[in-house]
């Protein structure tokens, strides 16, 4: 009884303190959103975003934040403990097929990717980074603890902070990828736990692992960054964006029909918004005029990734969205026979050559824009056991040498640091640019091989970042919809957009010794020891005695009779 009283008192106290000191309880809000986009290949792309905004500053001196409402406490503590200014982490299973699917809303490389900007007051960045990766690996149940100095780089230009602040000193940036990381339910569960409603209500009810992992592509991410509280930007707020992108395969699940419903995708329907959310919306891309039911009068137009798209909007905070059945099951049927807009920027990578001594990494970047050239920033991080011959680096476009205007190269140190290569390359219009560099495969020490050395060793994706000229600016037909006075000079925001394209990771075989050999040697040695030494030891330690030969049966019988008769026995 007292316990209950105590608990009640505590909650009351909390309530009152909140009411009494409004300054202490900073404003926070939560938004959730789902975008569904039918793709031309017949697949369907669903992108979830959950955004928590909190008007407080963890990093402020002398202020200890201990009262958490919507913002997950585990992350908040990590941010303040390690003085993190910005944190981006993604877990991806599969490869985003740019040529079939177009650009994703939030790109990510296969495996795990983590990049963090530390606050410039941090003195031991490497130490903080090491500890942070270990803590995050606990939070997300992932092998992020495999991130160490041998796969961490400090890109000088490719990863600029996305939030507030003008940090340019890349000593406070750490970037690492784990291309081998496999993402599964054990990573999804902790990710869902960070949501204010968990997976109990709102859009998160759709996140059931048995459907999410029955897809062609799955990617989940957490992005934390400081943003402005208001337009004047007098004080900082923290933004946490949790995103989850998934592409469902039409062929394997839909038997060739281009027809989808929320229930088919997630085996759930929507019944309510998350009660804690200020906004909860579902957007469906209807630019290509799919049949959508139930229909909604709410439409929204936006320029997304340089392309003008039209969306139907379903507001889950309004009761009429759910209709009579109290549940929302979107049904989508589309032809999808129109030509897809060719992605303007696209990159791929492969290993050339054969044999186990040398090889060549080829990175091919395509600019599909018919008349505009634009620069891209290419970042490559190659593990030390591929020894790059940087003098063989060539960049060719249209079979002509293309000299990069900026090169940042940090050579590897064996067993300490990977190679980092960053280049600013101008891509001519409608061209294919090939970047090649030769490498030699290092011979590892025998303890450095993974348990499956014949599988090969991974090289993380290279990253192509660019401001791509927008298709909207290229298209002149849209003047019909817009007033003429507004469309002569293209608007800046619409004239180009930022994309990051990740290439596929590489699997490279290194010269591998026959590991069954030591095993054979061990077996042989053990046999020799057991048989040879054992018998020898036996011989040495045994005491020998002359064995009295036992008498033949006839003699024993004779002795028996002699004993009875009392005469001396035979020997």
């Amino acid at each position: 009884h007292t316990h209950l009283n105590y608990k009640l008192g505590l909650t009351l106290q909390n309530r009152t303190s909140e009411a009494l000191t409004p300054a202490a309880a900073a404003r926070d809000e939560f938004q959730e959103e789902l975008v569904i986009r039918p793709l031309h290949s017949g697949d369907i792309y669903a992108s979830f975003q959950f955004r928590t905004l909190w008007d407080t500053d963890f990093l402020q001196e002398g202020q200890k934040v201990s009262h958490y409402r919507l913002f997950p406490k585990s992350l908040g503590q990590v941010l303040s403990k390690f003085s993190v200014r910005e944190l981006h982490i993604s877990f991806t299973q599969g490869f985003w097929r740019t040529m079939q699917w177009g650009q994703p809303f939030i790109p990510s490389p296969p495996g795990a990717e983590l990049w963090v900007w530390f606050h410039d007051t941090v003195s031991d960045v490497d130490g903080n980074w090491k500890e942070l990766t270990n803590v995050l690996s606990g939070i997300f149940c992932a092998s992020l603890n495999f991130i160490d100095l041998t796969n961490t780089v400090q890109p000088s230009a490719s990863f600029k902070p996305l939030g507030l602040g003008n940090a340019t000193d890349h000593r406070f940036l750490r970037y690492a990828t784990l291309p081998r990381e496999i993402v599964c339910t054990e990573n999804l569960t902790p990710w869902k736990k960070l949501l204010p409603c968990g997976s109990k209500a709102g859009l998160a009810v759709l996140l059931k692992s048995e459907k999410l992992f029955h897809s062609s592509f799955h990617s989940q991410a957490v992005h934390i960054r400081p943003v402005c509280q208001d337009e004047q930007c007098t004080s900082k707020a923290w933004e946490l964006r949790q995103t989850l992108n998934v592409v469902f395969d039409l062929y394997t699940a839909g038997q060739g029909k281009k027809e989808w419903s929320l229930f088919k995708m997630f085996s759930r329907t929507l019944t309510e918004a998350c009660p804690l959310a200020t906004s909860s919306k579902v957007y469906v891309d209807i630019t290509d005029n799919p049949e959508l039911s139930p229909a909604t009068p709410l439409l929204s137009q936006a320029v997304v990734l340089g392309d003008r798209r039209t969306y139907s909007v379903f507001d889950l905070t309004r009761a009429e969205t759910f209709g009579q059945l109290r549940s929302l099951n979107l049904l989508l049927r589309w032809k999808g026979d129109g030509e897809m807009l060719r992605p303007l920027l696209h990159a791929e990578r492969y290993v050339a050559g054969f044999g186990l001594q040398t090889g060549e990494i080829h990175t091919v970047i395509y600019n599909n824009h018919p008349y505009r050239a634009f620069p891209v920033l290419l970042m490559d991080s190659v593990p030390w056991y591929l020894q790059l011959y940087i003098h063989t680096l060539t960049v060719t476009s249209k079979s002509r040498d293309n000299k990069p205007s900026y090169i940042h190269y940090q050579p590897a140190k064996d067993r300490h640091r990977p190679h980092l290569l960053e280049m600013l390359i101008q891509l001519p219009p409608h061209s294919m640019t090939e970047v090649t560099v030769q490498f030699e495969r290092a011979l590892l020490k025998w303890t450095e091989y993974t348990p499956d050395p014949n599988h090969g060793f991974y090289v993380g994706s290279s990253v192509v970042s660019a401001l791509v000229p927008s298709m909207v600016a290229m298209n002149t037909n849209f003047t019909q919809d817009q007033p003429l006075f507004s469309s002569f000079v293209p608007v800046k925001e619409e004239s180009s957009y930022f994309v990051r394209v990740y290439t596929e990771p590489l699997l490279v075989n290194l010269p591998t010794p026959d590991f069954s050999m030591p095993y054979n040697v061990i077996c042989l040695t053990c046999t020799v020891v057991a048989v040879g030494y054992g018998s020898f030891y036996n011989l040495l330690t045994r005491t020998f005695q002359v064995d009295e030969p036992s008498l033949p049966l006839a003699k024993r019988l004779a002795n028996l009779i002699r004993r009875i008769r009392g005469v001396p026995l035979l020997t």
Binding site: G94, H214, S215, L506, N509
Partner: protein, 596 residues
Amino acid sequence: RGLLTRLNTPICIVCYLAAIVWFMGLAFEPFTLRTDMSENAMGSTMVLLRGASAVPRQGVRSSQKTGAVSTWLVKAMQSRGLEVFTQSFSRKLPFPDENKERYMVRGTNVYGILRAPRAPRTEALVISAPCSPGDSNNQAVGLLLALAQYFRNQVYWAKDIIFLVNEHDLMGTQAWLEAYHHTNITGMEYSPLQGRGGSIQAALSLELSSDVITSLDLILDGLNGQLPNLDLANLFYAFCQKLGVLCTIQGKLQRNDWDTAEGYTHAAQTMMLMVLKQACGRSWGDHGLFLRYHIEAASVRGINSFRHYKTDAATIGRLLEGMVRKLNNLLERLHQSYFFYLLPSLSRFVSIGCYMPAFGLLVVILLLRALDLWVHLGAPALAAVEGVTEAQQPSGPAVLTVLTPVVISHLTGVALYLLPVHLQEMAVEHFPVSETEAVVLTAVAIYTTGLALPHNTQRLLSGEGTEQGWKVLKLTALLYLAVLLGCTALINFSLGFVLAVTLVPITASMTPHMPKALSALVMVLLSPAFTILYCVFIYQELIEAPVSVSEGWMLFLSVISQGILDHALYGSLVYPLLALFIYPCWLMFWNILFWS
């Protein structure tokens, strides 16, 4: 030392006989090992086979009549949900290939990639089917498309699967592989590939020429005698057993009566066929070119031998499905089992440890003879310590006497390697022969001309050949041959062994003091060219298609032209090895015979 020099000849004879007996004993079943799956990932895992049905044969046939195969294939693959790409290639052969009737080759490869869900494009498997104009392999293409359709609807793929339909059989494969790995070893012209699937782990090639399949033949021998990992053969055998499909290797069924004479002969024949095929160093199926890139590959060929037993297409589909699924399960590249082996049957194999002694015994003869010569050469040298001035004098010319024949025979070898292809135009102008005949006959002519050289060599030299001179030359030649054969056998055991069997007896026994005419005849009969001729006859005998002498001669000529073409087109090393090394080495011994 005394023992070795005194009993040198008997020991050599015993070694030679022991080598032959050892080799023939390899086919005897109790001496061989049973094959079993070493790769854990492919071992006991359950694979439920459902099989691809509905082979669209009709489509293939009708479209091939119209000739637009590649466009039809692109559409067919696209409709099955693959990412489809094409590659065009062209190649002008060094001289017309009369067997396949081609000279200017121009073709298109079509390939479709089935992307594995949630896989990062790092690993791939290849299923290929050669498709040439005419309808020789359209069953395989049909099966390939059916498999593609079936595989596309499955969710368990962990590796991308590339379905490749290559034109002009090996040349298409070569162009595709070179483009995939961005290499150019043979001067092929091709367009770059647009889509890739990462590092290829394994490949299967399908050849089904007829509607009715009674058995499946597994072909392993690749370029330069390379073999895929034995686990690939084990996998094929395991599924054939499971599905009750008759399977053969070298076209020979397996027999169970190893203890009878027929049983042994059968196993020995199968093994001999493998040795001969491996020795000739050409790729016996499309798979052979993959091996260079460390991709384990095998060809599966459907055989119609007009037996009662028939296998339907669905069963073959299930078999391939099973194999591909097990390969899909692989966590590492195939590496657990043997890479060097001989197969007397599909269920039995001879590992490198068992067959190498047979070769070792042959090479030991060369080394023993060399040791013997060294001892004999050393004896006068010991005497020379006392008479210093005498012994020093001949050492100067000795080097020259050795060097001249070595250089001249190697120059002949270079001529044999270079001239046939380069002189073809001149030959065609002056003689009424086709280009191919010109090349082959030039090669034969240069080969025979080489035999006349020793006399000229002697005339070039100022003085008479001394006793010591030929001994030094023979010592050099013996060691040279031993190293040559040793290196060859390490890469291609069969080639090394076949050459050793014929070359070792004459080279070991050759001296200038033997009766000239008889030994010259024996030497010619055991020269590399005649070895090829014998191999042709033995091979024809073993595949139960014996030929007459004239047919054999024609086959011999075509084998030579094929050897030269294989070298030019795919980088086979047998022709340069024979022309640049083995033949000059044999010429050195020829030189010794005519040492005057």
